[in-house]
């Protein structure tokens, strides 16, 4: 299977850092997941082959780490912390608010495939609680209003991208029409 050049460069750089090949597994899985969206059978087979592991071994590792998933997720993975520091400052309300707003529960993905909601453990933002991460971005000292703004921003970003894809598509259409004509 094909990964991006960036991934390949990272992979190539990383493997020689270790005396055993498989040592590169965990970070590599995360990078592959970032790229593909989830760890598909194909990704698993590919990485197992590259690192001299069985697919079973790779699956055993994947299923251990909570950030790794073999199931597709939304474009924005909304991870709301409800652990102790967040709990006492309203983390659960943020989570409930998101659940209502998105209409999904823990690990649920919105039908448009944009958001996946997840209740997560402490993300290291305790002094700025309550906190959440959207993919890798931290959002701290949250209130429900602030959370709304974060979600709106995601939507806007998605729309902008959609727009861009559409315009690329129409450009491609125009180009192909022109070449045909």
């Amino acid at each position: 299977m094909k990964f991006s050049e960036e991934f390949e460069a990272r992979f190539a750089e990383m493997v020689p850092h270790y005396p055993t090949k498989r040592s590169a597994l965990v970070p590599t899985l995360l990078y592959a997941q970032d790229e593909v969206g989830f760890l598909s059978d194909e990704v698993i087979a590919e990485l197992a082959g590259r690192l001299d592991l069985t697919e079973l071994e790779v699956r055993n590792v994947i299923s251990y780490y909570s950030m790794l998933t073999t199931k597709p997720r939304g474009k924005f993975n909304l991870q709301v912390c409800t652990n102790i520091s967040c709990l006492v400052r309203g983390g659960e309300e943020i989570l409930q608010h998101c659940a209502k707003k998105l209409g999904v529960g823990h690990k649920g993905t919105t039908p448009d495939g944009l958001f996946t909601l997840e209740e997560v453990e402490c993300i290291g933002a305790c002094s700025w609680a309550p906190a959440a991460q959207v993919n890798y971005d931290f959002h701290e000292n949250l209130t429900t209003e602030k959370m709304d703004r974060v979600l709106d921003k995601c939507l806007a970003q998605a729309q902008e991208q959609l727009q861009r894809i559409k315009s690329v598509d129409s450009l491609a259409d125009t180009l192909s029409q022109r070449s045909e004509g």
Binding site: D52, L53, T54, E55, L56, R59, N60, S63, Y64
Partner: protein, 785 residues
């Protein structure tokens, strides 16, 4: 290693340095409980059942991971420790289903036993248990997740012990689960070790599950009937209307050289015995059709015919084909019967290794053969040819685990990239068929090097390998049927220059070695004595024909020219297995003793329903030469042991059976009829006698009487009878055997069985068939680390 002394519960314990505390405790009879600890597998410290108090340590310590040290003071039993163990059980039982009444493991479950001991039966929890449906992972492996206590024994035995690595652990925390390598099923060698080693009923056997309860079975430890390795297997039998039915095979009794090991065949492929196509009545060809008859009728007919042919055309008009799956006593008896009663030397069997050449090469060399136990302890092993993983699973296990646990050096020379190369210090791939040249090269013939070098090896590598091997001590040299005749003697020449070297000649069937040792050859008597010479057999057996007889192909040829008037086939299927034309014997009077209407039995004039090795007593010799006791477990009404049939035929021929079977004088022999319909009665009687250590040999069907003779006359078989009866394997020696002989290489025809096939027996095993079908794709090899 130096000894260390410590104190456990006030008792002084002395054990070698490096011993684990849990093992040291065992030596003084202190049993520290554990689930995850398993001898010879990697340490886990996971179940926390083995917590003990060690003085100067603040917390309780796990005895399974603690290495003993001088002066250590240990308490293994106190209120605190009891409480710790009890609470572990309580926590486990919180999620463990209490379905003991229907669980296969009920009655032999370590969790059940432990709960009983620590009184953790009362549940403290009111939460619902995590439930999951049972899964089928292969035709023979079922997994019931909630019962699993996560001791990881299965994972380790599969990976570390078997080098298959088909099991892993998925998820984490309380969601952790044992997972098979192919998402929802297993792709593996189907050895079933995971099932056997599971302390609870999480992994169960497709062959046994829900059939019976452990306490309803009788458990008989005997020897597997499949390959030549001679694993001990414990058969669970129960009464059935057809006799005694075998319902389970495992090796709970770990007293055999196979220790924990059993392969798929030993564990599940006993089911041929219960196959509904078993013959249970003698059949006599009447008007072209095999028709049921009485035993009496059959024996009379055979006796009459055999005597007729012998007296009219001479013994040389009769051929005898013996078995690689009957007992030594039966093979010996058959050999003796052929020469003494039938007066023929036309005796042969399905040969899969060149034992006569082996015996010839080893003549006079004491201690030159390795036992199966030696393979596990040898500091170095050279394996030429064969693929033990497929053909000698126990040998492969011994080799693998010797490398893993004792760092033995393994040298593999093979034309294929066989799986054992993964354990090899040095693996050399050679052109197909060049094994003999390897032997020549090793023995010093440098010119042979050209034939063994290919793109993957250089002459220098071969020279250095030879030097390395010459520098080894106590090397075990195992070789397959690729090495025969003079190549075999070259190899022995090479090995004999290495101090303490020992050999293993690999043959394919459960008692191939026995068939050879007992003289099922046209030119050799038991112990590889030439027929034409003089030996104790000549004096003891009386007048026997002096000229070498015909081998199997000779008999086929003789039959084609009408010179072979009668053929007696005992437990063998030459037509099915050796590609002999099914019309080859159409003009001969053919008698076949077998379990099934095999390709050979269908052309017989008389087919006699035979008991198999799980249904009789006697001894087997494995490919290494280890002699072991075979015990009767199952029984199918209407069959008889080959032993009894041979004797009855001799009797029907008017022969004084006392000359055949040296039974005690004076008493009326019980011919097995007087006690009514129960067939096998006499044989059971023999079992009883043997179980009580008695050998009055009152019955002419008593195999022990022949064992006596074997032990007295067959060189190398004079091993301890007591140890044998106690169920231990006893290594025989070839040093005084011989002189042997060289045969045509074509007379040797390997069985070519795989892990999942087993000649004619395998053909009648549903377990093997179902596994074969599910394994249309061969298991992929996995990385070793």
């Amino acid at each position: 290693m130096a000894d260390v002394t410590l104190t456990v519960d006030g008792k002084k314990v002395t054990a070698p340095a490096g011993t684990l505390l849990i093992e040291a405790c065992k030596t003084v009879g202190i049993e520290v409980p554990s689930f995850c600890y398993y001898p010879n597998l990697s340490l886990q410290g996971a179940c926390r059942m083995c917590l003990v108090k060690i003085e100067k340590m603040p917390k309780l310590q796990t005895a399974c991971t603690t290495v003993i040290s001088e002066g250590m003071i240990v308490t293994s039993d106190s209120e605190e420790i009891k409480q710790a163990r009890k609470s572990m059980l309580e926590m486990l039982l919180g999620n463990h289903p209490l379905d003991c009444p229907v669980c296969d493991a009920g009655g032999e479950c370590e969790l059940q036993d432990m709960t009983f001991s620590y009184g953790a039966a009362e549940s403290k929890f009111m939460e619902a248990k995590n439930h999951k449906d049972e899964q089928q992972w292969s035709p023979v492996v079922f997994f019931d997740r909630p019962r699993c206590i996560l001791c990881y024994r299965c994972v380790r035995v599969c990976g570390e012990g078997m080098d298959v690595w088909a099991l892993g652990v998925q998820n984490r925390g309380v969601s952790s689960i044992i997972a098979p390598n192919k998402e929802d099923h297993l792709e593996c060698e189907e050895c079933g070790m995971c099932i056997d080693i599971c302390p609870v009923g999480a992994l169960t056997s497709g062959a046994y599950r829900y059939k019976t309860r452990p306490w309803e079975m009788k458990h008989v430890g005997t020897i597997c009937t499949h390959c030549g390795d001679g694993c001990k297997t414990t058969l669970g039998v129960r009464r059935a209307d057809t006799g005694m039915e075998i319902v389970r095979g495992d090796n709970r009794d770990k007293s055999g050289t196979n220790g924990d090991f059993l392969c798929i065949k030993g564990r599940y492929a006993f089911d041929f015995a219960n196959h509904e196509e078993r013959l249970t009545q003698p059949l006599i060809r009447k008007e072209g059709k095999l028709t049921p008859a009485t035993w009496e009728e059959a024996f009379q007919l055979i006796g009459k015919k055999f005597a007729e042919v012998r007296d009219r055309d001479g013994g040389s008009a009769i051929g005898v084909i013996g078995s690689t799956r009957t007992t030594n006593e039966e093979s010996y008896l058959l050999s003796k019967f052929a020469r003494m009663v039938l007066k023929t030397n036309n005796v042969d069997h399905h040969r899969t290794a060149d034992f006569p050449a082996f015996a010839a090469a080893l003549r006079g060399k004491a201690d030159a053969t390795a036992s199966m136990a030696d393979v596990f302890t040898a500091p170095a092993i050279l394996l030429i040819g064969n693929d033990p993983t497929e053909q000698h699973p126990l040998l492969a296990w011994q080799i693998r685990n010797n490398v893993r646990l004792h760092r033995s050096r393994l040298y593999v020379i093979n034309s294929q990239a066989i799986k054992l190369r993964r354990q090899a210090t040095n693996f050399m791939q050679i052109p197909a068929g060049a094994e003999g040249k390897v032997a020549a090269f090793l023995a010093g013939d440098d010119a042979a090097a050209d034939a063994i070098i290919n793109s993957s090896s250089t002459k220098d590598q071969w020279n250095s390998l030879r030097d390395t091997l010459r520098g080894e001590q106590n090397l075990v040299i195992a070789f397959g049927s690729e090495i025969l005749g003079s190549d075999l003697s070259s190899l022995v020449t090479f090995g004999s220059a290495i101090a303490g070297a020992k050999f293993v000649c690999l043959a394919d069937y459960a008692n191939s070695r026995g068939a050879a040792d007992m003289g099922l050859y046209p030119d050799l008597l038991p112990g590889y004595h030439p027929i034409s010479g003089s030996s104790e057999f000549h004096t003891e057996w009386g007048e026997i024909p002096q000229a070498a007889g015909l081998d199997l192909s000779g008999m086929v040829e003789a039959a084609s020219t009408n010179k072979l008037k009668a053929l007696y086939v005992v437990g063998s299927n030459p037509i099915g297995r050796l590609k002999i034309d099914s019309f080859a014997f159409s003009n001969s009077f053919v008698v076949v003793q077998d379990m099934f209407l095999t390709e050979t039995a269908v052309v017989a004039d008389v087919a006699l329903p035979a008991a198999n090795a799980y249904e009789k007593s006697g001894t087997f010799t494995n490919t290494c030469g280890d002699l072991q006791l075979v015990k009767k477990a199952g029984e199918v009404t209407g069959t008889k042991a080959d032993f009894e049939m041979i004797v009855r035929i001799a009797d029907a021929m008017g022969f004084d059976v006392r000359k055949l079977v040296p039974i005690g004088g004076g008493t009326h022999a019980d011919m097995g009829q007087s006690r009514g319909a129960q067939s096998g009665e006499a044989d059971r009687h023999a079992v009883w006698l043997e179980a009580h250590g008695l050998e009055p040999k009152l019955s002419p069907f008593d195999p022990m009487a022949i064992l006596d003779e074997i032990q007295r006359l067959v060189p190398g078989y004079d091993v301890s009878r007591m140890n044998l009866l106690a169920g231990n394997s006893q290594h025989t020696s070839l040093a005084k055997a011989g002189p042997g002989v060289a045969h045509r290489p074509e007379s040797i025809s390997p069985a070519n069985d795989t892990l999942f096939s087993s000649g004619t027996l395998g053909h009648y095993s549903r377990a093997l068939k179902s596994v074969m079908e599910s394994h249309e794709v061969k298991p992929a090899e996995v990385a070793a680390d």
